[in-house]
Structures are given as C-alpha cells and as structure tokens.
Symmetry: C2
C-alpha cells in the first residue's frame, strides 16, 4: 500500500471486530428477506397451493446455484485447510456418496408434494428470468470479488435460522399439503447453517482489516440481501399480482 | 445448429466411440511427459538430491492447483449426480475432515524429506514462473472451454498409472533419501486415478458427438500433455542446464 493510500485510508480507522460484526448484524432488520411481503404471505398461510408451488419452483434455481457457488469460491482459495472446511457446504446440498442424499434431494421432496415433475424443476424452464439473473449475479459476485468480500456475501446465513424456524412452523400450521417430511430441507439447515456461518464470520473478521475492506464486506451482505429480495419481488409480481411473464410456469386454470 | 454448419460438419463423420478412444490413447506415446528427458533422469537415478528437490518444489504448484481446478470445473456443472461423483477428486487431494489427510499432505511428506520448510513450499515463492504459468493455463482452460472439452483435458490420467509405477520403482531403487513413506502420494494415485479416469472417459465419449467436438477433445488431451511437458522443460533448463531464473529456489552452494 503506498503512502497516499495509507493516509487516505487513515481518515477512517478500522472498526473493532465487535463493531464490525454489529454493522453486519444491523443489516438484517432493514434488508433481510423475512421482511418481504411475499414471505409474510407464505409463512402466514395466505398463499394458495399454486403460489407456494411457484415459490418452490423458483427457489430451486437458488438452491441449485449454491453448490456451484461454493465450488467457484473454493476454486479461488489456495489454503487447503480452508477448502477442507468449506467442502462440506457442497456435500450439504449435493449430498455425499454413498448414502447422504443432500439438500437438493430434500428440495425435490418439497417440489414433489407440490405436483412438479423433477425433470421440469431441474430444467429451470419454468422459472422466472428475474430469478435466474439474481442468482447468477450472486455466483458471479463470489467469483469476481476479493476473497474476503466474496466470503462476506455468504453471511446472510447469520439471519437464516430464524426465518427457517418461522417457515417450518408457519407452513406446517397453515398448509394442509405440507408435512414434516416436506420441511426436511429447512430442518436440516437449522443445524448446518450456524456451523457454516460462524466459520465464515471469523474468517471475515480476521481478514477484513482496513475500514475500506470492512465496509466492502458490509456492502456484500447488503448485496446478498438484495439478491434474496429480488427473487421475492419477481415472485410477487408474477404470482400474487398475476403478471406472469412469457415462458414462465403457469398454474393449471 | 444451422444447415450450413450441419453441412460443413457433415464433411467429416463422427468417429465411433472406439475410434475416438483410440485417438485419445494414441497421444501418449507421442506427447506424454514420461517421454521427457527430465523424467528419464529422475526415474533412472541420474539426478542429485537438489534436482529432485527442485522437481518436488515445482510440482507442488501443479498439485496445489488440482483441487482448485476440480472446484472450478464443478462450479460449471448443473448436474448434481455428476458433481457428487466429481467431488471426491477434491477430497483425494485436499483430504476430508475429520481424518483423511489427502494428497497434498502426502506431497509435503516428500518435500519434508527433501529438506524444505512446508510454508516455503506452500508459498510457491521459489517455484519457477514458467511452472506457474503452465499450471494456471490449465486451470483457465478448465474454466473457459466447453464442458466436454474441459473434461477431456483431464484424460491424461489415462496415462498416469504407468508413469507412477515407474516412478515409485525407479526412485526407490535409485535414491537413498527416498523411502516407501515418501512415495505414498504416488502409491495412492495408482488406485485413485483409474477410478476417476474411467468416469471421465465415459462422459467424454458420451457427450462429444460431432467430429468437431471429438477433435476438440483430442486437442484438449494434447493441450494437457503440453502443460505437463512445459513444467519439465522449465525444470530442465533451470536445474539440469543450470539457468535458474531470478527469484527461483537455488540449492545451497
């Protein structure tokens, strides 16, 4: 770092680790997608089965991207210990041979119950283009941003357990077509996500040292919140307001 | 595919799967790095300990890239079953928590015995720039080429078991500083590589359907042979001919 940059960065002292973490956590009550009206409808039992189906179909696009995102992230990491820790995120979603089925398999249990053919779901043909763009923006972000910023973008997992608990309870209580087996994906994430996120949070706190890096990490968490929010916006417009774009899945009349 | 392209490609009929495989296998006796003079010196006991050390130090750069290459490849694959099969390649090199140490750990056993500090090896500071360029060209190739071509570039594993067997026997017989423990990396690869390569070969044969795709896959195997060969060229110039470039590791005088 040259002297000019050092002096410039000196204008803002780095946050303490505690303050840095607090800045990250402060994003949830303003931007996390549990605040979105579509989630409130979903969890509160206000959607019909077709609308829940549209959500599951589109959310598959995001689920499917997660192990690819994690692989892309690992491809940038030169630290073997780090990769050994990270690889279980791929296992969590893809499963692990010979007999762990993984989160995508559990997601198919959900789309099965909502009446979709698995090949149709996996083809992503009926998913909203806006969903695909948001999800791929996330994958590209993880590929292209500085490593610590790419890691930070994954910290929305900090906020996930409460939304998952709310979702499990709300969907079980409110939808006759949802049972415990169908919610297996979210139940599993209640234990997986906290393990992942504490490792990521420590990494980010340790490696974002300058104030500029810390602020970039906070922006990364906001970026990821935007990615999640945009998916619900697209769902809402298409399947609550009824403006389904050409080519996207349409419920039977 | 438009009619013009179809007609153009029609000039050459696709090879049968058997002929396609034969074209790939025919590359080994012309281009695989077991033909390189440096390998003949290495396996024949004609190098001194410093020269073997230079080889192990530089080859670490390649070893270190393999799990990143595999992660980059997986990040492009939308098929979960395929990724579940592929992920063990990462485990093979990185190990798998809690207790499988992995190929990189076994590589360090080799560099330990040759007198290197592990941090120095991992830093890649002393490696030849030409090694790094060749290895990164391979990683980029796997990221950027069509998927079937990227997969095909990994088929040099077809030729690996014989070089590994020759290496184990030759190095054990010829170098007093090499013992069975040190050769553990190569012994493990004797069972890992054939499993990997039969899967990859089936995938490539199944998915390269046009003659143009088949020829691109054959070129990919040649490309990968070039990557391996270039690493030995760089070693030879630096540590056999003695033209060690600035910054690269120098044996103690």
């Amino acid at each position: 770092m040259n002297e000019f940059v050092r002096k410039f960065e000196g204008v803002k002292a780095p946050w303490s680790k505690e303050e840095f973490e607090a800045q990250i956590r402060a994003i949830a009550p303003e931007r996390y997608h549990d605040l979105h009206v579509f989630h409130k409808l979903l969890h509160g039992g206000k959607l019909n089965k077709d609308q829940v189906a549209a959500w599951a179909l589109n959310r598959y696009v995001y689920q499917e991207a997660i192990p690819r995102k994690d692989a892309a992230f690992m491809s940038r990491v030169h630290d073997r210990e780090f990769r050994r820790e990270w690889v279980h995120r791929i296992h969590d979603h893809d499963g692990l041979l010979p007999d762990e089925p993984g989160g995508l398999e559990r997601w198919f249990v959900l789309t099965d119950c909502l009446g979709f053919d698995r090949d149709y779901v996996a083809s992503m043909e009926g998913a909203l283009p806006a969903t695909k763009y948001a999800v791929e923006a996330y994958v590209r972000y993880v590929v292209e941003q500085p490593l610590v910023v790419a890691a930070a973008s994954q910290l929305t997992e900090l906020f996930a357990p409460s939304i998952h608990r709310e979702r499990i309870a709300g969907m079980l209580a409110n939808y006759s077509f949802v049972n415990e087996a169908v919610m297996a994906y979210f139940k599993r994430r209640l234990t997986q996500a906290p393990r992942d996120v504490s490792f990521t949070l420590e990494f980010v706190k340790e490696h974002a040292r300058t104030r500029a890096q810390q602020e970039a990490c906070v922006e990364a968490v906001k970026f990821k919140c935007d990615v999640l929010w945009a998916q619900l916006d697209a769902l809402h417009l298409a399947y609550v307001d009824g403006m389904i774009p050409p080519g996207a899945w349409r419920p039977a009349a």
